[in-house]
């Protein structure tokens, strides 16, 4: 058992022991605090880690509560068993919302979730035969004789159960967030293109994460039922949605313990202020204002920040990539946007172990070409294959799985994460992982995490950023950000690396080391497709050049023959860079 898990267990055990001594009122209040914390943990997954602001988590919360209560009352299921089952419909609803989140994002996602909870509220209000409508269903107190034989009162063992569940959830979250899953969520939140380029599929991750979030909210709702003992439609109300969201923000979005702090604040503050009942809401509002003004990072920012563990130890070398001998063949691809043909019948192939340069004037279609190859765009016609494997029509993450990874013309990184974390995101495809192994932290999983960490470190070393691994990526100078993007792509261990203007904005010395890096990579067996405007560099480094002009392929060949190609000379005549090309010759 590692240290963090030990801390969770000890804290939970202490809380359970403490709950045995609490009088009924404080125990019930603590139950509410724990339930709101769970709701917070749930909202934190979508709003904190995935960046999808939800105004409708009451939908899951109420669904869980109603499922548990109705199972117990209408169908005679043991309530505590019903609690476990109650998270299932909520998780299923979460999965549906997850699918929807691919299409609907930002504020529209917030509205969509709000609307879902409102529909469920109306349903619970009007499905009288099942829910008794606005009066609500009375649920008998689910007493457990075993606990009472120790002299515990209901609120105390209810609290103990809730604490154990919360501790479990926090431990699960801690492990998931530190796993490839958590990294994938944050990558999707900060830069979806980056995530897709290194093989993170948005659909499965969002569906999984929001289903998890829904399930946790459902569990929270179900555990609230023994506290209120009546299921009423306001469980679906905007009140709970807002409380969950606000608790997360006050506690600290995207932090492990933030939702717990927020949940406790939202449960305890209004209740403890009851002695000044007339002003309690006003005082509570002032507390919220103060917290945000003084601690904009949320209550969790009061905790000392532990430094994220990094693997300096590169003792376990990553297994060598399986080298496929086949070359990448691009056969007469076209792409039109509306009436405009951006790429028109372009064919070339890239031999393994070489650097192919893609040149052409601005707007010639080079980046479009790269996007087509990497799966970010689908060609209107033509096909892209690696030997027998067809890439045409595959999504970007699937193309990345086939070993083709791109970088972007504009620096695309997760600016709030550290350099090292960014590169770790790139290791997503290194070895496939299941959520179970990440949660259980099996031996093999920990071993694979070590491999990923050391490989990430190795990639940083390759681009010369090893000393920077704990800096925030957004704080790096521009040139280093460009290099970091390459390191992220390298971490995916591509067979084909597609670089879009990696040298743009680099200083002279940085450009020189970039050239050295690219050659090194080629010698390591990585095939590179390179776009850049620096023709001098291109001529120097590329084994082969493809010239694109107005979306059409003008020439292909080694640098010398391309340079002397009459069509190329003609296309470049009058162009600003034409002189430069000759000068390079």
């Amino acid at each position: 058992m590692n240290r963090a898990t030990l801390i969770t267990v000890v804290a939970a055990a202490a809380a359970v022991l403490a709950s045995m001594t609490l009088p009924s009122y404080y125990a019930s209040l603590a139950v509410y605090a724990v339930v709101l914390s769970m709701l917070g943990v749930s909202v934190n997954i979508s709003s904190g880690y995935l960046g999808l602001m939800s105004f409708g988590h009451a939908a899951f919360f109420g669904l869980g509560a109603y499922a548990a209560g109705l199972l117990a009352v209408r169908w005679g299921v043991n309530f505590w068993l019903a609690v476990a089952l109650a998270s299932l419909p909520a998780a299923a609803l979460g999965a549906v919302v997850g699918v929807a989140s691919l299409r609907v994002s930002g504020h529209y996602f917030a509205i969509a979730t709000l609307v879902v909870s409102e529909i469920l509220r109306l349903l619970s209000l009007n499905w009288i035969s099942l829910t008794r409508g606005p009066l609500g269903v009375v649920v008998p107190r689910p007493r457990i004789a075993y606990f009472e034989s120790f002299g515990l009162i209901f609120a105390q063992y209810h609290l103990m159960i809730c604490i154990v569940v919360l501790a479990l959830l926090i431990e699960i979250m801690r492990r998931l967030v530190a796993s490839p899953y958590g990294r994938a969520w944050m990558a999707l939140r900060d830069k979806q293109e980056l995530a897709e380029s290194v093989g993170i599929a948005p659909l499965s991750h969002k569906v999984g994460a929001i289903a998890l979030s829904g399930g946790i909210a459902g569990l929270a709702g179900a555990l609230l039922v023994p506290r209120i003992l009546v299921l009423s439609p306001d469980l679906f109300g905007t009140n709970f949605s807002a409380t969950g969201l606000l608790a997360v923000i006050v506690g600290g979005k995207g932090t492990l313990l933030g939702p717990v702090f927020g949940g406790v604040l939202f449960a305890a503050a209004p209740e403890l202020l009851r002695s000044i009942d007339a002003y309690r809401i006003a005082v509570f509002a002032l507390i919220l204002l103060l917290v945000v003004r003084i601690r904009p990072g949320g209550l969790a920012s009061l905790l000392p920040r532990g430094s994220a563990g990094e693997a300096r130890n590169a003792a376990i070398p990553p297994s060598k990539p399986v080298v496929q001998a086949a070359s990448l063949a691009i056969s007469s691809i076209s792409k039109s946007f509306g009436g405009l043909k951006a790429i028109d019948d372009v064919s070339f192939s890239v031999l393994r172990g070489r650097i192919l340069g893609l040149i052409g004037p601005n707007g010639a279609g080079k980046t479009t070409c790269l996007s087509l190859v990497s799966g970010f765009l689908t060609p209107s016609q033509g096909s892209i294959d690696i030997g027998p494997r067809k890439l045409t029509g595959l999504s970007a993450p699937r193309v990345a799985e086939e070993g083709v990874v791109r970088t972007f013309q504009h620096t695309t990184l997760c600016p709030m994460l550290t350099v090292f974390e960014n590169v770790l995101i790139g290791t997503h495809l290194l070895s496939p992982e299941t959520a179970w192994s990440a949660v259980l932290q099996t031996k093999a999983y920990l071993e694979r995490e070590k491999v990923r960490a050391s490989w990430a470190q190795a990639c940083l070393e390759k681009v010369g950023l090893a000393g920077r691994h704990q800096s925030e990526a957004g704080a790096l100078p521009y040139g280093e950000q460009r290099l970091l993007s390459i390191a992220v792509a390298l971490a995916a261990r591509p067979d084909f690396l597609l670089l879009d203007e990696p040298a743009a904005g680099l200083s002279g010395t940085e450009a020189v080391s970039l050239v050295r890096l690219l050659r090194q990579l080629r010698d390591d067996g990585v095939t590179i497709i390179l776009i850049d405007h620096n023709l001098r560099m291109m001529m120097e480094i590329c084994d082969e050049l493809v010239v694109i002009h107005h979306g059409k392929m003008l020439a292909q060949g080694d640098p010398v023959s391309v340079r002397n190609d009459p069509a190329v000379i003609e296309a470049y005549l009058g162009q600003r860079r034409a002189g430069e090309a000759h000068a390079a010759a």
Binding site: P23, S24, Y25, S28, L29, Y32, L125, I128, G133, P134, L135, G136, V138, R141, F154, L224, R227, I228, L229, V230, S232, D234, N239, P270, E271, L272, L273, R274, S275, I276, D277, A278, R280, I281, V283, I287, L290, I294, R295
Partner: protein
């Protein structure tokens, strides 16, 4: 650094505030605390609290209860079961209260019963109307208001015999109260009901509803809305589209705020009630004058029920000679009739209060006028 200091200071001040308020509560030793719960931030909740305050004033003017001054501890339930349960639990376990009085919502009443039962306390409910509230297996739950079923039995008979409508439209708010009223009406009138609709408790614009009910051609429209801004706006919207059939509110919701909101359109709207401020008894005069002196308005039914919830509790404690033994207080409550401003109230075995008078109330010249039936 500065910010941390500020933060610590703010937290310290808050703890001190909460602590200070708590200890000042505990210091009042020689008083009798009675818990009062209402959604205090709502209109009817506020009316109930004000009625309860008058009861405490009158009890204390008569020398308190068993030598102790009655002190009300009022908590907001905010129409939320979570807050309601917490408030009741706090009253009983932290504030040393043995009787909790008040409340509007049947849902919260149902949620509070297990808490009260677990602590052997007594629950004296003022307004909740759902029949189930007094059907629990706990013998210390009492209810002062009539149930929706009792209302329907009395009022629907009156409508059938005296008004004899051909077509009836029923409009009810979407809560336990409204739904029950609608079900009872369907039982009483059957096919005579030509139009029903349920509106949200938050709704404030009734133009669409008013046009639809006009389209039904009913000659009697019954409205069930616990807040005057809804019943008033609805009547006003009906008048706006030129629809003025016979109009009544279901029993117990026609109060003085209604004509204020509905204006001229309120004229002729009638209902029935168990209370009218014009009742000519000494106790009622004392209640009405004290209320008017303190709150500058005439009390209505909700104020009365708030009053009674504390008043009868105090009288029963006096008679039982105990303020803590809720079992004995409950026995005394069941065994005796209790004088209140509306006449005499007696409780049946289930804890349901009876009422000996029914008043016909009607809006005349912008005022609610009551006549005994």
């Amino acid at each position: 650094m500065n910010k941390r200091l500020l933060c610590a200071a703010a937290a310290g001040a808050l703890i001190a505030l909460a602590w200070g308020a708590q200890s000042s509560d505990a210091s009042a030793k020689d008083t009798l605390p009675i818990g009062v719960i209402f959604p205090t931030k709502s209109i009817i909740g506020q009316q109930g609290v004000q009625g309860a305050n008058i009861a405490a004033d009158l009890l204390n003017a008569d020398g308190g209860v068993n030598g102790k001054e009655v002190r009300l501890i009022v908590y907001d339930t905010n129409y939320s079961p979570v807050e309601g349960v917490a408030a009741v639990e706090r009253l009983i376990t932290q504030d040393g209260v043995h009787v909790v009085a008040g409340e509007i919502s049947s849902t919260i009443a149902l949620a509070a019963i297990p808490v009260v039962k677990a602590e052997d306390a007594l629950l004296m409910l003022a307004v909740p109307k759902h029949p189930d509230v007094t059907k629990s297996d706990y013998d210390r739950v009492f209810r002062l208001n009539t149930t929706s079923t009792m209302d329907a039995a009395s009022f629907n008979d009156y409508l059938k015999n005296k008004i004899a409508p051909a077509k009836i439209a029923y409009l009810a708010e979407n809560n336990d109260f409204g739904r029950l009223t609608l079900d009872d009406a369907k039982k009483s009138f059957g096919s005579k009901i030509v139009f029903t609709d349920i509106f949200e408790v938050k709704q404030s614009d009734f133009s669409a509803l008013a046009s639809n009910v006009r389209g039904s051609g009913a000659d009697l429209v019954c409205i069930m809305a616990s807040n005057p801004e809804q019943s008033g706006n609805l009547i006003k919207s009906m008048a706006d589209v030129g629809y003025m059939p016979k109009r009544c509110l279901t029993p117990g919701v026609l109060n003085n705020d209604f004509p204020k909101v509905a204006g001229a359109a309120a004229e002729g709207v009638f209902s029935e009630d168990i209370y009218a401020p014009s009742i000519d008894t000494d106790l009622n005069k004392r209640f009405v004058t004290s209320y008017e002196a303190k709150y500058k308005s005439v009390p209505g039914k909700i104020e009365l029920l708030g009053f009674e919830s504390v008043w009868i509790t105090g009288l029963a404690m006096r008679k039982a000679g105990t303020v803590t033994d809720t079992k004995k207080i409950a026995e005394v409550l069941r065994a005796n009739p209790w004088p209140t401003p509306r006449g005499t109230v007696a409780f049946d075995k289930s804890g349901q209060a009876s009422s000996d008078h029914v008043y016909h109330v009607e809006v005349k010249d912008g005022k609610v006028v009551a006549t005994q039936r």
